[in-house]
């Protein structure tokens, strides 16, 4: 189950200049279960080629753009074919993947043609398109044609893709009297404009089945094209088991339900799609558009745009065609608008006033320290987004007064005032956000004072003296004797 990756392009770093050279180098190499990856450099590539020589084993072939096209037709790796690419006569399961590519097809037969021989061995063919822009100018040739006329299943999956045409099919199976292949088409988060899926089976073969499932898609089909219906049904048993979830379409309800007949959830029918970039009226969809074909299918940023935030039921991919993150209630179609995604974090500010201790006696105060911490303000949003909460850190020192005094004293601790403003993210239309709460903890030290305790000696000796005092007289007590340490003396006089 090896994966071998090679680069194809015009640069000196490329392994091969063309897809055909890559194919001829790799065709005999795969073992069962292997994946052959053809990474295409930016620029135009021609897939005109016959690839009938692949080792006939269960095989995955992946064509992948080296860089994202960014949702722009003229960018990235582009398939601009001068002829069709054929993988005929395969007897084993085959998966063909296309990732991050632009298909720019002329009005001619240029499809990927998948063919198997008409054996009775059941086999599975998978074709997946992921983040691809596909334009087909042909009205009778598809981008993908499934020529599998052996029994089995063909799965066609498109995710985050634009499928634009001129009324022709982007996928079909050719009419075959021996066709027994069931075909299942799944479109997720796709934008479809005038491009048809043709589920064509042999009317005499009632065992063949097929369906189209669409999730979170924008579907605009001109009424002049296939009766304004996205799926062409030409056989007795096709398009059974299809469904539509979170789709917005120009189709009439009955037309839409003709193919999505099993399940219809949150579908809006008969919608007007504007392609001139104008602001939509309520209930309309507006694309940035431009001059057809190959329109800019990104959504006009407007609260009226019905597509914005529409896909509330379907399981949508985490990103869009450009790689932008989709929120919890994503937009329908291949492009996620910025309206419901962009969150600009607010700015938090914090101010403090210094601690100013005061003391009732003149003394030396040594500033202490105060530890101040703040927990990060974490904004929480009700939409899933790639907003990264900022982290606020704050450290400060302040004054914790301590005092050394020679007598009893009274120190009044200083005060600190601290305030914060919340981080308030700004948010676009139609969404709300709940600011997070910051927690602030302040710890400090109460000022301390050290005073000396007076020493006390009580004499028990007795002596007496008497004298009469007149008003205004002064009297003096003299205590005489050796005093090596010059102690303080307190004399208590009791007058009766």
């Amino acid at each position: 189950m090896a994966t071998v990756t090679k680069i194809v392009g015009a640069s000196d770093a490329a392994d091969y200049a063309t897809i055909s050279l890559w194919y001829n180098a790799r065709r005999s190499q795969p073992s069962a279960g292997d994946t052959e990856v053809c990474v295409l450099e930016d620029g135009d590539h021609d897939w005109n080629g016959w690839q009938g020589g692949w080792a006939d084993v269960d095989l995955t072939i992946r064509f992948q753009g080296q860089n994202s096209h960014g949702g722009v037709w003229a960018s990235g790796a582009r398939i601009v074919p001068s002829g069709h690419m054929s993988l005929p006569s395969r007897e084993d399961d085959t998966t063909i993947e296309f990732i991050d590519l632009v298909f720019d097809f002329p009005a001619a037969f240029r499809p990927l043609y998948l063919g198997t021989s008409s054996t009775t061995t059941s086999k599975t063919i998978n074709v997946t398109l992921t983040r691809c822009l596909a334009y087909n100018a042909s009205t009778n040739s598809p981008i993908i044609r499934n020529g599998n006329n052996a029994p089995g299943v063909t799965n066609i999956t498109a995710t985050n893709c634009v499928l634009e045409g001129e009324g022709g099919q982007w996928y079909d199976i050719p009419y075959s009297s021996s066709s027994q292949t069931d075909t299942y088409v799944v479109l997720t988060a796709c934008t479809v404009r005038d491009a048809i899926v043709t589920l064509q089976g042999n009317a005499s073969n009632s065992t063949s089945n097929g369906s189209v499932v669409a999730n979170g898609c924008l579907i605009a089909i001109d009424s002049s094209m296939n009766g304004g219906q996205m799926v062409r049904l030409t056989a007795n048993s096709y398009a059974r088991g299809g469904s539509s979830v979170d789709c917005i379409t120009t189709e009439a309800e009955a037309t839409h339900d003709n193919w999505a007949d099993n399940s219809r959830t949150n579908a809006t029918y008969g919608v007007t799609f504007n392609i001139d970039g104008s602001a939509p009226a309520s209930g309309e969809v507006s694309w940035v558009g431009g001059t057809p074909p190959k329109l800019d299918f990104s959504l006009v940023e407007n609260a009226n745009n019905l597509a914005i935030g529409y896909a509330t039921n379907a399981t949508m991919p985490s990103g869009d065609i450009e790689g932008n993150v989709r929120p919890a209630s994503p937009d329908a179609g291949a492009y996620q608008s910025a309206t419901s995604v962009s969150l600009t974090p607010g700015v938090g500010s914090l101010t403090t006033t210094s601690l100013t201790p005061s003391a009732s006696v003149a003394t030396v105060l040594t500033p202490g320290t105060t530890a101040l911490s703040i927990t990060p303000l974490v904004s929480t949003a009700v939409v899933a987004t790639n907003l990264t909460p900022g982290v606020a850190t704050l450290a400060t020192t302040a004054l914790t007064p301590s005092a050394v005094a020679t007598s009893s004293t009274f120190l009044t601790p200083g005060t600190v005032a601290l305030s914060t403003t919340q981080l308030v993210p700004t948010i676009g239309i139609g969404h709300s956000i709940t600011p997070g709460l910051g927690q602030l903890t302040l710890s400090g030290k109460a000022p301390s004072a050290v005073t000396n305790t007076p020493k006390s000696v009580i004499s028990t000796g007795q002596w007496s003296s008497s004298i009469d005092f007149a008003v205004g007289d002064e009297w003096v007590v003299t205590i005489d004797g050796p005093s090596a340490n010059a102690p303080r003396v307190r004399v208590q006089l009791l007058f009766s």
Binding site: A17, T18, S20, G49
Partner: protein
């Protein structure tokens, strides 16, 4: 404007017709120059003086009833042993050889699984068969 005709063993199938100056890829041509020696992985490059469109049309007129088709690769193969001796020697030493379009046509045949009828069918289906 000249042409590099890239072939691959074992059948000598023509895999690409590149203009001069186009690097066939580092898995085919060693070093950094587009005209350097070919790696020893079954590749050969035939350098022709004519441009790719002229080579393709010459092959069409020699091998098919068409005046032009969409490509010269896939359908045709070069048998090295039918090339001039000097070209064979050059291919053996460097994997490249300069030949004329006439010398190419003398060594050219259909690739395995292909015939004039099949080529015509495919090219007509995609609208690239020019009478």
């Amino acid at each position: 404007m000249s042409t590099q005709l890239v072939t691959h063993t074992p059948d000598g199938v023509v895999c690409a017709a590149l203009q001069d100056g186009v690097h066939a890829g580092k898995a085919i041509v060693g070093g950094t120059g587009w005209d350097g020696p070919v790696t020893n992985e079954g590749w050969c490059i035939l350098d022709l003086a004519d441009d790719p469109a002229t080579v393709r049309q010459s092959v069409c007129q020699a091998m098919l009833t068409a005046s032009d088709i969409s490509k010269v690769y896939d359908y045709f193969a070069v048998t090295d042993s039918r090339l001039p001796a000097s070209a064979q020697a050059s291919l053996a030493s460097t994997g490249r050889a300069s030949i004329t379009t006439e010398e190419l046509l003398a060594a050219l045949g259909f690739a395995p699984d292909w015939s004039a009828g099949l080529v015509q069918s495919v090219e007509q289906e995609q609208g690239t068969w020019t009478e």
